[in-house]
Symmetry: C2
Subunit: 186 residues, 2 copies
Amino acid sequence: MLPEVPMPARGVTVWFTGLPGSGKSTLARRLAARLTARGVRHEVLDGDAVRTSLSRDLGFSRQDRDSNVARIGFVCGLLTRNDIVAVAAAVAPYARARDALKREIRDFLEIHVATPAEACEALDPTGRWAAARRGELPSFTGVDDPYEEPLAPDLRLDLSVIDLEEAVRKVEALLEDRGYLPHDPG
Amino acid sequence: MLPEVPMPARGVTVWFTGLPGSGKSTLARRLAARLTARGVRHEVLDGDAVRTSLSRDLGFSRQDRDSNVARIGFVCGLLTRNDIVAVAAAVAPYARARDALKREIRDFLEIHVATPAEACEALDPTGRWAAARRGELPSFTGVDDPYEEPLAPDLRLDLSVIDLEEAVRKVEALLEDRGYLPHDPG
């Protein structure tokens, strides 16, 4: 997204990782709206959305999941080094794949959307958890595929405990504290 | 590449299309050096280079070639709408795939590197044409795979007729004429 008057920001990748239904895409969209309001150049890379473009060919095997994360990461890296805030929302279940991105991109904030599985499954607005329980979605992270929790994320957000607006404020504060955004005068 | 003092430029995708060995990558690198010297933000997406990252899984079938072009195009589109000059060097042999990118990205310059096949094959610094003639590189564009020439490219450059520096000057002039770069005072 190209704001009318782009504000200088330091490029960074903000990666929301977590279980399906934990709130990653919602957080990414809300953060994007805030960045638009603050005049900060950014792009959202949504793990599900890119499966119709960048990763059309990929399934949900471990190898395909790693490829999807690597491709999104490649794009985030290009954007980041051009001072654009890249906001990724993708399960990225494997610690090794996430760690590879951190090493490569460096300006990389790992945000664990730590909404517990029970809360994700109870809400389940898209019905994916229910479908996975019925065996209609094989290799579903949290049901029959593993999620390796980040051990030391830059931020951990549990949307069953805090609300969306508070969560986004915490992300903005993190970006400010790390020098990626100027402190919000508002 | 992030220059020290980034100069405002309008985002655009400059796509060098042409036969293997026609000079696409060389042109892209030389243009990138000029953009660096002029302080213009840019990225080079090289069709061969991305086969180790973005397109690691792809071969050279028509479908895989189209996927490679589409993925590079996806990235070029993101960069372009963020005012970064995306320089792509990729055979992109099929007119339909190129036309799809033009429609999608809009700020898109198609540059046909029209060095004739005989000249590409005579030079052949990487030995790929010779390998293809020996049957060691199947689906090689220009030998046993088609190249659909652009009918109305924004620029046509035949490096068997003009030298590299003149070719790059023509690309810079095109970018200036179309309003993507300020006229070079130099």
